[in-house]
Amino acid sequence: MQTITWNALFWIIIVFANINGVAKSFLQEGEGRMLYYYTICKPQVILSGKLLFNVVLSTLIASVGFMVYAFILGNPVSNHSYFLLTILLVSIGFAGILTLVSGIVSKANNSTALLAILSFPILLPILLVAIRLSKNAIDGIDATLMNEKLFTLISVDAIVIATAYLLFPFIWRS
């Protein structure tokens, strides 16, 4: 298989696994349990808990996905440390976006279809950087050329998580 196809297919699988796996965080909670959480702690604490769990879950999905995928379809990656770093950073960003959007959808009509529609376009910026980074990692391009994109990914992650912390109290209160 060509490396470009390998790369694209890998990220498509990761995106949809994330949307289905990570996004459930708020959708599965019942009304009563939400109210109980509301009475015992601050919204920031709830978000931190959900976010931490989702980052771990998302990283797990991506790394297990990578291992199985590489086992079945072959592993063209030549710079593993950068590839895994990309996976980690993307997982943090995806978890941040999906946690907040899942909170939004849980206040709307709780459907997974709405969640996919709302989250997909805002996942794309991270995905675009990730595809380019992992393509470089597969080709084994010199690390100094990749650092710029890596910093972009880190800053997008930071923006996403910071806005999530600012905005979450407003959804939680209602």
Binding site: A108, P125, V129, T152, S155, I171, S174
Partner: protein, 221 residues
């Protein structure tokens, strides 16, 4: 905003742009030739869209701080006009690309980026339509609006700089600053940006007033 001077200014600037942009002299450059005139109609659309989306986020923040539904109406109507501007920006860009790149849609990073940006705001409108309660709708969609804007900025301003694109201003192509040096273009381009943006604000203002009248009629019934 009820004063009429800025509406007259906006309309006359747009007329000036149309007449001046099509008839006045433009610099002759290879490949671009006369298509450089598209700049007066294409680029101001994106300027207007970004200005109005920023205003929309400002009103969403004010809504979350005050809980006044008036600000939420401002935010949604600004987004509606921005979407119109975005679609027009895509359309004018495609007409231009047909002549200079040889195809209306070539999957250029700039084209994809703006299409994704529009997708985000279509999702915003969809979200609004899926919530029945007015206060809840306003609150949830304000949160999404702010969050979407935070991811839109890297999409439009950082990512295109990391890749090669055929679009002017990217990957070694002469950009906005190169044309800007030419006074003949500058004389029309800056008024064009102001004119189109004022026209967009006027459109938004009319829609907002229509909304208020509708809600007052609903209350009387």
């Amino acid at each position: 905003m009820r004063k009429s001077w800025w509406k007259i200014l906006g309309v006359s600037l747009v007329f000036y742009t149309i007449i001046g942009g099509l008839l006045m002299e433009a610099p002759r450059l290879a490949i671009l030739n006369e298509t450089i005139r598209a700049m007066h109609f294409h680029v101001p659309m994106w300027f207007g869209m970004i200005i109005m989306l920023t205003a929309s986020v400002y009103f969403s923040i004010r809504y979350l701080r005050t809980g006044n539904l008036k600000y939420d109406t401002y935010a949604i109507e600004l987004v509606n006009t921005s979407i119109l501007f975005g679609l027009l920006g895509l359309a004018t860009g495609m007409i231009w690309a047909q002549f200079t790149w040889g195809a209306a849609w070539s999957g250029d990073p700039k084209q994809n980026g703006s299409a994704i940006g529009l997708l985000i705001y279509f999702a915003y409108i969809l979200l609004r339509n899926s919530i029945a309660d007015t206060q809840q709708k306003a609150k949830i969609s304000s949160v999404y609006n702010i969050f979407a804007y935070a991811t839109l900025i890297p999409l439009l301003f950082i990512l295109p700089r990391l890749t090669d694109s055929l679009h002017p201003g990217n990957g070694g192509n002469p950009g906005f600053n190169a044309y800007e040096l030419d006074g003949r273009l500058r004389m029309i381009f800056y008024p064009a940006v102001i004119g189109w943006t004022l026209l967009g604000v006027w459109l938004t203002e009319l829609r907002i007033r229509l909304n208020f009248i509708k809600s007052q009629i609903d209350e009387q019934d």
